[in-house]
């Protein structure tokens, strides 16, 4: 009968070494600096072929989207509009994200079923439908870092600590804070709220809600 306090510094000796073959099976992530990119290549025309077969039923032949599935192309110069269209071409900062995401999550319902060459080809095609490369372009692990997406410079690190926190702090008014108050907007005018009957929303869809982007629920 015995028992010593568990070691807190030297580690617990739990788990086991991950084998190279196991790491290889799971370590599929790709970064903007190219880390994680596998060897492979694919051109725009091959990409179109695969895309039309495996992706277009949701995203449209040219990434324009079917119904409410995500739009993958277009939207250039809409980011400061009332209704910005955020696509790979108009918004995404890094091409590596396209490769990584398609490779890990698409096609929706059959994730991780594409070959590396297929992912390169689709990525090339998505660059093409976003007017970023010509139709004879071939993407590979060799030239991957040469492609930069146009909106990359428009991202910056969270700056709330300097741009917001000083404003949203300090003493608050408790009495006589305003002279009068008026209602300027009412949700019931839109009428897009699901009924308590739970199946609601069909009627709502017709009503064109103010913010219908898929992104609005991410």
């Amino acid at each position: 009968v015995s028992g010593a306090p568990a070691p807190q510094t030297a580690g617990f000796g739990l788990g086991r070494d991950a084998l190279p073959v196991e790491i290889a099976a799971w370590d599929i992530d790709v970064r903007p600096d190219g880390a994680g990119l596998p060897a492979g290549s694919g051109d725009v025309w091959t990409g179109e072929e695969v895309f039309v077969e495996k992706c277009a039923m949701c995203h449209g032949d040219f990434g324009e989207a079917v119904g409410r599935w995500p739009v993958l192309a277009g939207g250039h110069n809409t980011l400061s509009d009332e209704d910005p269209v955020k696509t790979i071409g108009s918004y995404w900062p890094y091409l590596s994200t396209v490769y990584d995401y398609i490779n890990r999550a698409m096609p929706f319902g059959m994730a991780q079923s594409l070959t590396n060459d297929e992912v390169y080809a689709i990525t090339a095609y998505l660059l093409y439908v976003n007017d970023l490369v010509d139709d004879d372009f071939e993407l590979s692990n060799d030239n991957f870092l040469e492609v930069r997406l146009p909106n990359e410079p428009n991202f910056y690190m969270d700056d709330r600590a300097t741009t917001e926190y000083p404003i949203f702090a300090g003493d608050v008014c408790m009495t006589d804070c305003k002279d009068s108050v008026t209602i300027t907007m009412r949700a019931t005018v839109l009428d897009v709220t699901p009924d308590d009957g739970s199946e609601g929303g069909e009627e709502a869809a017709e009503e064109e809600p103010a913010e219908t982007e898929e992104a609005s629920v991410e």
């Binding site: 580690g11 739990l14 788990g15 070494d17 991950a18 196991e22 790491i23 799971w26 370590d27 599929i28 992530d29 970064r31 903007p32 880390a35 949701c58 409410r68 980011l79 400061s80 918004y91 995404w92 900062p93 890094y94 994200t97 990584d100 999550a105 994730a111 991202f155 690190m157 969270d158 709330r160 917001e164 949203f168 702090a169 300090g170 608050v172 008014c173 009495t175 006589d176 305003k178 009068s180 108050v181 209602i183 300027t184 907007m185 009412r186 949700a187 019931t188 839109l190 897009v192 709220t193 699901p194 308590d196 929303g201 869809a205 809600p209 913010e211 219908t212 609005s216 629920v217 991410e218």
Partner: protein
């Protein structure tokens, strides 16, 4: 007060007395089900309206979508597991824990693989934390839209987690000095990934396997999820199967295409992880109108901050002309929901209800106006502005914006 009593009573008795008292009810005389009938219990049949609800028009498909916690029906600070809102990108992964592994690789001295049994042998901690989706209240940026706090504010839940400090697992593998970021990854068909700085990973993150005492629910990442206290919900990777340590962030889809905050000038903030102080009145609210007429009224709501506790909430019933300090009730825990109450005597006149949270850093929840002034209307995420409900003479509440 005598006449007041008659006025405010839900059911005045007639001379013969209230039938609910005079007549025996079935449950007063006959036996109910025994202790062998419900090995795992469910709510009363009379509570079937208390449920998570989705908004069909929001997304193309319910499989990559969201449903909402019925905040207007809840009280206290704990969200029951069956009602915690769901957000998944490839549906609910039904993971067999015997077939689940957690791998740590990348910039570590020794890449490791853990089974669930291995994880259960590390020292554990218990903490109550809110998880809020960065998109909570996102549909309200452009204007008052959804009529109910379940829909405007229901992408949040507050749960007591049991888990292993992520720090211990990373120490077990040995993070190299070049390791500055981690990338947790999910086992579901979306293969969800996010980049998290190593400081946060070594601070208060948990690898959690229990919520509110029992195993995580499949909707919440069973058998194991990451807990990232105070930070946006998408980072709390569910069905956690791998953590890679790296020297740079990954800039993956959920931190570029999504969860970046587009400002009015077309530029966008990235890595907006912390959830700022926020509050909402849950009752009265559009789905929880005043049904009993004038007289005593409990105004209640919840408040939270990703940067600390909530020592104070102010409530106005006149649209911000006059504010009163609400009464906080229940334990005040770091990065947890807080419950507040304002007990008033309602005179039956229209009200414009708002709540305003103060957090322990001194931050005060801004108005929509203030927030839009900085960010514009396309920001989608991180809308933590003050919510307004207009209550009419009948006690009905509506989601509105005011001057």
């Amino acid at each position: 007060a005598a006449s007041g009593v008659a006025m405010v009573s839900a059911k005045a008795a007639n001379a013969e007395g209230d039938p609910a008292i005079i007549n025996k009810q079935e449950w007063n005389q006959y036996l109910g089900e025994g202790v062998d009938a419900r090995p795992y219990g469910m709510p009363s049949q009379f509570e079937s309206h208390v449920r998570r609800q989705d908004v069909p028009w929001l997304t193309a498909d319910p499989v990559s979508s969201v449903n909402f916690t019925p905040l207007h029906e809840l009280d206290g600070i704990i969200t029951p597991n069956g009602l915690c809102f769901e957000r998944h990108h490839a549906g609910i992964a039904e993971v067999d824990p015997a077939e689940h592994r957690l791998m740590i690789n990348g910039l570590v001295d020794r890449p490791l693989v853990f089974t669930m049994e291995d994880l259960m042998r590390f020292p554990r901690e218990n903490h109550v934390y809110f998880l809020e989706c960065a998109a909570n209240t996102g549909m309200e940026w452009a204007g008052a839209q959804l009529n109910g706090c379940q829909f405007t504010h229901g992408m949040i839940h507050n749960v007591m987690y049991t888990g292993v400090p992520l720090r211990l697992l990373l120490q077990e593998a040995g993070v190299k000095t070049t390791g500055k970021w981690i990338m947790p990854e999910g086992a579901d068909a979306s293969g969800m990934t996010r980049s998290i700085p190593i400081e946060k990973a070594l601070d208060d993150c948990l690898v959690a396997f229990k919520m509110n005492g029992e195993a995580l629910r499949p909707e919440q990442g069973y058998p194991v999820r990451l807990v990232v206290p105070g930070w946006e919900g998408n980072m709390w990777i569910k069905w956690l199967r791998r953590i890679e340590v790296g020297d740079q962030p990954w800039h993956h889809r959920e931190e570029t295409s999504k969860y970046t905050d587009l400002l009015a000038d077309g530029q966008a903030r990235r890595f907006t992880w912390e959830m700022d102080a926020k509050s909402v009145i849950t009752s009265p609210s559009p789905q929880a109108p005043i049904t009993q007429g004038p007289g005593p009224l409990v105004i209640t709501g919840v408040a939270w901050s990703g940067r600390g506790t909530i020592p104070r909430v102010d409530v106005t019933i006149d649209g911000g002309i006059t504010w009163q300090q609400a009464r906080m009730s229940g334990p005040s825990l770091n990065k947890s929901m807080h419950r507040f109450y304002l007990d008033v005597e309602w005179d039956g006149k229209p009200m414009l209800l708002q709540s305003r949270a103060h957090d322990s850093t001194g931050y005060v929840q801004p108005t929509k106006e203030q927030l839009r002034h900085v960010r514009g209307e396309n920001s989608i995420y991180h809308n933590n502005s003050i919510q307004t409900w207009a209550v009419n003479e009948k006690g009905e509440a509506e989601n509105v914006e005011i001057s």
